[in-house]
Amino acid sequence: MADRLTQLQDCVNQLADHLCNAVGILQQFAPSGSFTGFEKTASKQPAVTNEENAALFAQLIARTAKDIDVLIDSLPNEDSSPELQLASLCRLEEENQEAARQLEEVVQQGETLLTQIQQALHDIAQTQLDSQALQSAQL
């Protein structure tokens, strides 16, 4: 689902398409006009009646224009001006840096704890080896 601006652009292009197509099709499939006095060629009925075509195109164009109106309504209004946006961007930048600092602090604590535990485990393993040695010396 594209974002609102792209949808709006697509709708506008679609409206232009409908306008061109309407004029083109109606002109192409119109029965030829009759001259008074020349009654030779019988007018043949077009495959799909022109009223239906005209009604269809009118409906399409009206619906597309309505869609465009609805999409325009959904756009944000002028309250959030560029200055406001820039200000909120600066504020968010600072808050982001603060959050990064906190994260780094916590990670640092975790790392020191990890090294302490590793040191303790190393000591334990070392003395286990020594105790094994002493054990074998006892026997």
């Binding site: 506008v12 232009a16 756009l75 944000p76 209004n77 560029p82 968010l92 003395t127 054990q135």
Partner: protein, 236 residues
């Protein structure tokens, strides 16, 4: 990629008179031509003039087209007015086509329609920088929330780990005495994986080692290691 082996290629040939200047010799001697400097003012590309000092996203409409809306305008209202104008102008066009198809009014009307469409697209494009800033703002908020969440969860894990360490230390037997030589003879401790008993062993052995060193029996320690090696090898 357009040509197979040595067939006819649809791409133009490389400019040999330019490429041949970049031999190894020339580069070593420093006589190869320098890269072209960046272009500062207007230039033409494929027939379209590009201005290098454009206000990137929103060049003014005054470049060539008539402006239909006042200077301080509400985007949405103007967009709606333009939308309705397009439909009304289309009706007028149909009227003209019905009545007198080949009049100059027709071309005028079509130009009006073109102008209206260009206006609509221009106003829509003016929203794009706004959208970009909003996207940036939302992305930064998401990032900040992620960072805070991660820090919080990590802190919780740290607390859990510390708690478990505390319980381990507390479950150590509190009656470790330094009279450990006696303890060793009567209780052959086997090394186990339980942290509490191994830390018990740790403290016992530390006491033992201290006593051994105090008695000046350092020379027995290598032989102890030899004994240990013998035991391990016998165990294999």
């Amino acid at each position: 990629m357009a040509e197979g082996q040595q067939g006819v290629s649809s791409m133009p040939l490389p400019p040999m008179q330019y490429v041949s200047l970049y031999t190894d010799e020339n580069i070593r001697r420093g006589r190869a031509p320098k890269p072209p400097p960046p272009i500062k003012d207007n230039y033409n590309m494929f027939g379209v003039t590009f201005h290098a000092d454009d206000q990137i996203v929103r060049p003014l409409e005054d470049q060539g087209l008539r402006r239909l809306y006042p200077h301080n305008y509400d985007h949405r209202r103007e967009l709606k007015k333009l939308n309705h104008s397009i439909v009304i102008n289309f009706l007028d066009l149909l009227d003209i086509l019905i009545k007198l198809p080949d009049s100059p009014k027709r071309t005028e009307k079509m130009d009006d329609l073109t102008l209206l469409f260009i206006h609509i697209h221009h106003l829509i494009n003016e929203f794009r920088p706004h959208q970009a800033r909003e996207t940036l703002r939302v992305m930064m908020e998401v990032q900040k929330r992620q960072r805070l969440d991660t820090a919080e969860r990590f802190r919780k894990h740290l607390e859990h780990v510390r708690e478990r360490l505390q319980t381990c230390f507390q479950s150590l037997p509190d009656d470790v005495s330094l009279d450990s030589k006696l303890l060793i003879k009567t209780e052959p401790m086997e090394t186990s994986d339980d942290m509490s008993s191994s830390s018990h062993v740790v403290s016992l052995m530390r006491g033992t080692k201290r006593e051994l060193e105090d008695n000046g029996e350092e020379e027995s320690i290598p032989s102890l290691q030899d004994q240990m090696m013998c035991d391990i090898i016998e165990g294999l």
